[in-house]
């Protein structure tokens, strides 16, 4: 790890005042320390926001759910109101990584994780994403965990599990800088590689995530999240699905179908949502939606299996959200 200076901040203003000259925000520190130990990033200064009290706390009101960015994944997973009303979010937070990581990792840091791609995460490779070469090694190399959709520029995937339900639940992210505050929808938060290989999110230097807000669900809303991977614990998903259904009896009035590690950023499938909307949710519609989500997928040489695994994830998670299936024991976490 590179040498760096460290500044411990107690307020948002203190932290904003320190965010200059390449200084990097540190919250739970899990992904950041990983990247620093691997030599992928080498910030000269870490701005510790972990002791900024105003960035903590879960507030549930009739308007919705407010998460301070320092809320840990454990806190989200264990919160009874989130389990009841935003169950897709507690599923996602509770099945990420390990208990120890969930005790430390924050929701703000979870959505700000850098992409997963072993070429990007290794100093042995220059690549298009790093800006050190024009090559994406994943396109021709080892690509079994890489993206199956929107993967022609850079086939990385975004590992955040909480971003998946947050996108399906129309969450917004509040960003604060010295110039003021702005609010960004989760649907605009991530920047796909074809737009920018440098910016993975819309968060600009000098900006800090100061809140995440999930609007209160409409009556009849049910949600679920499941992920599939190689190991039962710690592993990142190979396929995951976040489903939000607004139900009118057995009929689905509105649907959000979100996939996490299908593309370089978490994405919704309009095709799958169209299949579910206005239909009675049963095994046949769930299967049809799953199939629609993978129409147009462009798997690479080693990850064609992911298109099948995503269909399984979506099919089972639609039924789980609709209350027609128990949590799949083969889902990991």
């Amino acid at each position: 790890m590179n040498k760096f200076s460290f500044v411990d901040c107690k307020t948002v203003d203190e932290a904003l005042g320190q965010l200059n000259n390449g200084a990097t925000v540190k919250a739970g520190g899990i992904d950041l320390l990983d990247l620093m130990k691997e030599g992928i990033v080498a910030p000269p200064k870490l701005v510790n926001i972990r002791n900024v009290d105003s960035l903590r706390g879960i507030t549930v009101s009739k308007d919705g759910l407010h998460l301070g960015p320092l809320v840990t994944l454990s806190e989200i997973a264990a919160h009874p109101d989130i389990q009841r009303t935003y169950s897709g979010l507690s599923d996602a937070a509770g099945h990420a990584a390990t208990p120890q990581v969930r005790n430390m990792a924050t929701v703000g840091g979870n959505i700000m994780q850098r992409p997963r791609c072993w070429y990007f995460r290794s100093t042995d490779f220059d690549c298009r994403k790093k800006g050190t070469s024009d090559v994406c090694h994943a396109l021709t190399g080892e690509n079994q965990y890489h993206a199956v959709i929107n993967n022609s520029t850079c086939a990385m995937v975004h590992p955040s599990s909480t971003a998946v339900p947050l996108l399906g639940m129309n969450a917004t992210v509040e960003l604060t800088s010295k110039r003021g505050k702005r609010t960004v929808a989760m649907s605009d938060f991530y920047v796909p590689p074809e737009k920018s290989l440098i910016n993975e999110t819309v968060v600009q230097p000098g900006e800090l995530i100061t809140g995440i807000f999930v609007p209160a669900p409409e009556p009849g809303t049910r949600s679920a999240y499941q992920k599939y991977g190689e190991k039962e614990s710690f592993d990142w998903p190979i396929a995951d699905a976040g489903i939000v259904l607004v139900m009118d009896g057995n009929r689905c009035r509105k649907a959000a179908v979100v996939m996490g590690v299908a593309a370089p950023t978490p994405i919704r499938s309009a095709a799958a949502e169209a299949v579910l909307t206005g239909k009675t949710i049963d095994e046949a519609t769930a299967r049809a939606a799953a199939k629609a989500a993978m129409q147009g997928a462009t798997p690479l040489s080693q990850n064609g299996y992911k298109t099948q695994l995503f269909q399984t994830a979506i099919y089972r998670t639609v039924l789980l959200a609709a209350g027609q299936m128990q949590r799949d024991p083969s889902a990991i976490g």
Partner: protein, 222 residues
């Protein structure tokens, strides 16, 4: 032929020049401070990158160490404080061998900076036992032979002991969940489960006799 330009350099002149440089640095710093104050942003001072003295509260005792900000808690425990009970295996947060409690919550010492642990209550495997008297989970691990190479064991014990702190009557699924981050390449999991469930039972019977060492003594076994 023109004369070569004369080099004029005196010690006095050098000091005078250096003085001006130093003075202007001070003025620039003062201006920066004034600017920050005006913005309401004068604030905390950065420490490092060189080693700085910090105090860590570990197993109820305060320890003074001098570490660089890049030192992890795991490195600091092992290298600076010789508390080698906490093991480091992957050093990336994927194996949980370095599990300690931070403010009574299981956390990864390898992914925690020592400077970030200041002001927190750290409990390591050395703090679980009362001198030579083992924590019920440790005793149960011995009784059930819940270890082979032993490298994952301290982290495993910290996870299981933390489980019993928050749930004195765990089910098998609770134990499995509690150690789901602790990797054991030897495959001791069935014995870890048995030991922890046994410890919970034993502990229920002798709850009054065993309290966690928050304390005064430090167990010196490695």
């Amino acid at each position: 032929m023109a004369d070569a330009p004369k080099m004029e350099f005196s010690r006095r002149g050098f000091l005078k020049g250096a003085g001006i440089t130093a003075a202007s640095t001070v003025i620039e710093s003062a201006n920066a401070l004034a600017r920050d104050a005006k913005d309401g942003l004068s604030g905390p001072q950065a420490v490092g990158p060189d080693a700085i003295p910090i105090k860590l509260r570990i197993n109820g005792q305060e320890h003074a160490v001098t570490v660089e900000p890049r030192y992890t808690l795991a490195q600091t425990l092992r290298d600076n404080l010789e508390m080698t009970g906490t093991k480091v295996v992957c050093d990336r947060g994927s194996c949980s061998a370095c599990t300690v409690w931070i403010d009574k919550t299981p956390a990864l010492a390898c992914m925690t900076l020592a400077v970030d642990a200041v002001g927190r209550e750290i409990t390591t495997i050395e703090g679980l036992s009362h001198g030579e008297t083992m924590h019920p989970v440790q005793a149960a691990f011995v009784k059930h032979d819940a270890m082979q190479c032993g490298f994952c064991t301290p982290g495993m014990v910290m996870s299981c002991a933390a489980l019993l702190e928050r749930n004195p009557n765990p089910k098998l699924s609770d134990v499995k969940h509690a150690v789901s981050g602790n990797l054991c390449r030897c495959g001791t999991y069935p014995k870890v489960f048995a030991a922890t469930l046994d410890a919970a039972q034993q502990r229920g019977q002798i709850a009054d006799l065993v309290t966690l060492n928050t304390g005064t003594e430090r167990y010196d076994g490695a």
